[in-house]
């Protein structure tokens, strides 16, 4: 059974990707990425 866990995980992950993309998450992530992350740089809020 353990031999095939990767297939189950990959299918579940792929389903998540498809549903997420269907909900427009690409655009959401793109919008977050285009805002300069001040926490990453270490600037005070």
């Amino acid at each position: 059974m353990k031999r095939y866990l990767w297939i189950i995980a990959a299918v579940v992950g792929l389903a998540g990707v498809i549903v997420g993309l269907g909900q427009g998450e690409w655009g959401t992530v793109l919008a977050w990425a285009r805002i300069l992350c001040t926490s990453c740089i270490g600037l005070s809020d």
Partner: protein
């Protein structure tokens, strides 16, 4: 049918001698073990493998592509930070590459998950659960994990490459206490999921030394406004970075081994991923070559495919052919039927 793996205990049960330290007693083996592998070794082993195959024996060496890891890491660093194509930031690269870097072309999966946690403050209760979870980011990470396990840490992560290079400055390294290796999961649950949800601040990003290096150094150089906004927290973050940089010289992959939340996600799937690494105790002479050369600082004889393994396949260069890698669907070389 032969067993999948023969452990040292099974050797003893079968009445075979314990091979521990044989390598250090035998001068020929010792010279072979203490040397780092190079392409010449690989060619020799490949030839030996070919000749042994014709005799119906087992293959002795790993494939040539595992010797290209350093180049792939450098190529990944360059591609991930190649500046043009910023439209690709909607795709979260399965490695720790800060999206605040001026040249970054991909998104950071940990940053995206933290932002989702923060956004859940407002959306929880108003939307169904599947609309709150970052399904696309998590799904992509699960797909990569299922296929490659933690190989992304060993093969494409730019921060992992930096740690490998700094660790190469010293021959002897301290080992990470086993308990500290579980800190990654605490970081994942606390700093990536719970604390950002409660405080509205991406705390993993706030403390991440990779961000201090890529975003903290490069953004102020290229952006005068950012330079003017540098305050006391920037110095705290730089101190964290310097602390890790010093630690990287004395400990192999200290960030990956203790606090990387992305590695924690990958390591959950590493044991069940497509790529397997097999240890054959029959061939092992306990020369400790794999232990000395493991970039993750683990004992590959005991912890292969484990939570701390980064799937770099350095151990698969074993001069004795005791450790080999293969995709899940391929039979173990020691189990393959001998050619007539």
């Amino acid at each position: 049918m032969r067993p999948l793996q023969t452990t040292q205990r099974q050797r003893r049960r079968a009445g075979k001698p314990d091979l521990r330290d044989d390598c250090l007693r035998n001068a020929d083996l010792r010279d072979n073990c203490l040397r780092k592998p190079d392409r010449r070794d690989n060619n020799q082993m490949a030839q030996a493998s070919e000749s042994s195959k014709s005799d119906g024996d087992e293959a002795l060496s790993g494939p040539r592509w595992i010797y290209q890891r350093n180049w792939l890491q450098i190529a990944a660093l360059v591609v991930m930070n190649s500046y043009f194509f910023s439209w690709a930031k909607g795709f979260c690269v399965p490695a720790l590459n800060c999206w605040a870097c001026p040249g970054a072309i991909f998104g950071c999966p940990l940053g995206a998950i933290q932002n989702s946690s923060i956004a859940a403050q407002w959306t929880l209760g108003n939307k169904p659960w599947y609309a709150i979870l970052p399904l696309y980011v998590l799904g992509a990470l699960v797909v990569f994990s299922a296929l490659f396990g933690r190989m992304m840490c060993g093969w494409i992560c730019p921060f992992g490459w930096l740690q490998d290079k700094l660790a190469a400055l010293r021959k002897k390294h301290w080992r990470i206490p086993k308990a500290l290796r579980y800190l990654r999961y605490v970081m994942l649950v606390a700093l990536v999921l719970i604390v950002p949800y409660l405080t509205g601040v991406p705390w993993f990003c706030k403390l991440c030394p990779q961000g201090a290096l890529q975003g903290g150094w490069l953004q102020p150089i290229f952006d005068a406004d950012v330079r003017a906004a540098i305050g006391s927290f920037w110095w705290i973050k730089q101190a964290i970075l310097v602390g890790f940089l010093v630690l990287m010289v004395f400990v192999k992959r200290p960030f990956c081994g203790t606090v990387c939340a992305l590695g924690a996600i990958f390591s959950l799937f590493h044991r069940y991923s497509v790529w397997r690494i097999d240890f054959d105790a029959e061939k092992c002479v306990n020369c400790m070559w794999c232990v000395r050369n493991c970039p993750a600082g683990i004992d590959p004889r005991r912890e292969l495919n484990g939570y701390a393994c980064i799937g770099c396949l350095e151990c698969a260069k074993c001069p004795h052919g005791a450790i080999q890698s293969r995709p899940m669907w391929q039979a173990m070389p020691s189990q393959a039927p001998a050619e007539e």
